[in-house]
């Protein structure tokens, strides 16, 4: 189960508890969908957000 993904954006809730946030918009939502190797909120998933390219090719 890909519940924990190294390097995935998280937020701290104030008591040291880390929660996964949307990999696209960064918002904490009560429901996230796994899209390949990242979690997306409903809105970003519906918009078909794609993973940012870290190595753009000219």
């Amino acid at each position: 189960m890909a519940a924990e993904i190294n390097g995935h954006p998280v937020a701290e809730l104030g008591n040291g508890m880390l929660v996964t946030v949307c990999a696209s918009c960064g918002k904490l939502r009560t429901i996230l969908f796994l899209d390949r190797d990242r979690w997306l909120c409903t809105a970003c998933r519906a918009e078909g957000k794609t993973k940012p390219s870290l190595y753009p090719v000219a």
């Binding site: 890909a2 519940a3 809730l13 104030g14 929660v19 939502r29 009560t30 796994l34």
Partner: protein, 144 residues
């Protein structure tokens, strides 16, 4: 979004204080398809009122450890807390269109007592289809 402690959830709270009862060791989170993305059951709602996803396609309630609940803080409507995120098993069939989550007293689907129910915070209904994997953050808000 809407949320509610139906009467049977209030009974739990009443039993704890002022009656001095013992709270549950754990709770279980499930998904409901009744109502809408911005409405929940009434005070009289019981487990069947919520139309939980069927126990098929790998759907199952997930345990929320009592120890996983975070710090209680002030919310827009009262005092609330969130528990550690819960990842459901990969759907192996369509679970339906889900409008929110319930927190219940047992693992058995469509049985037991529903203490709390709420919509997702983005007030959007979500269709859970085959191969979907979802992660839900349980929340619990006491309205003053």
């Amino acid at each position: 979004m809407a949320e509610i402690f139906p009467n049977e959830g209030l009974d739990l709270i009443y039993g704890l204080a002022p009656k001095g009862g013992t709270g549950p060791a754990n709770t279980w989170i499930g998904l409901f398809t009744a109502y809408t993305a911005s409405t929940v059951g009434s005070s009289a709602a019981t487990v069947t009122s919520w139309t939980e996803c069927a126990s098929a396609g790998a759907y199952a309630r997930q345990t929320i450890s009592s120890a996983s609940w975070g710090t209680v803080g002030t919310t827009q409507s009262g005092r609330g807390s969130a528990a550690a995120q819960v990842t459901f098993p990969t759907a192996t069939a369509v679970w339906g269109t889900v409008n929110g989550f319930i927190v219940a007293n047992g693992a058995t689907v469509n049985a037991g007592t529903v203490w709390y129910g709420a919509n997702f915070d983005d007030v959007t209904a979500v269709a859970i289809n085959t191969n979907d994997v979802i992660k839900v953050t349980p929340t619990w808000v006491y309205t003053g």
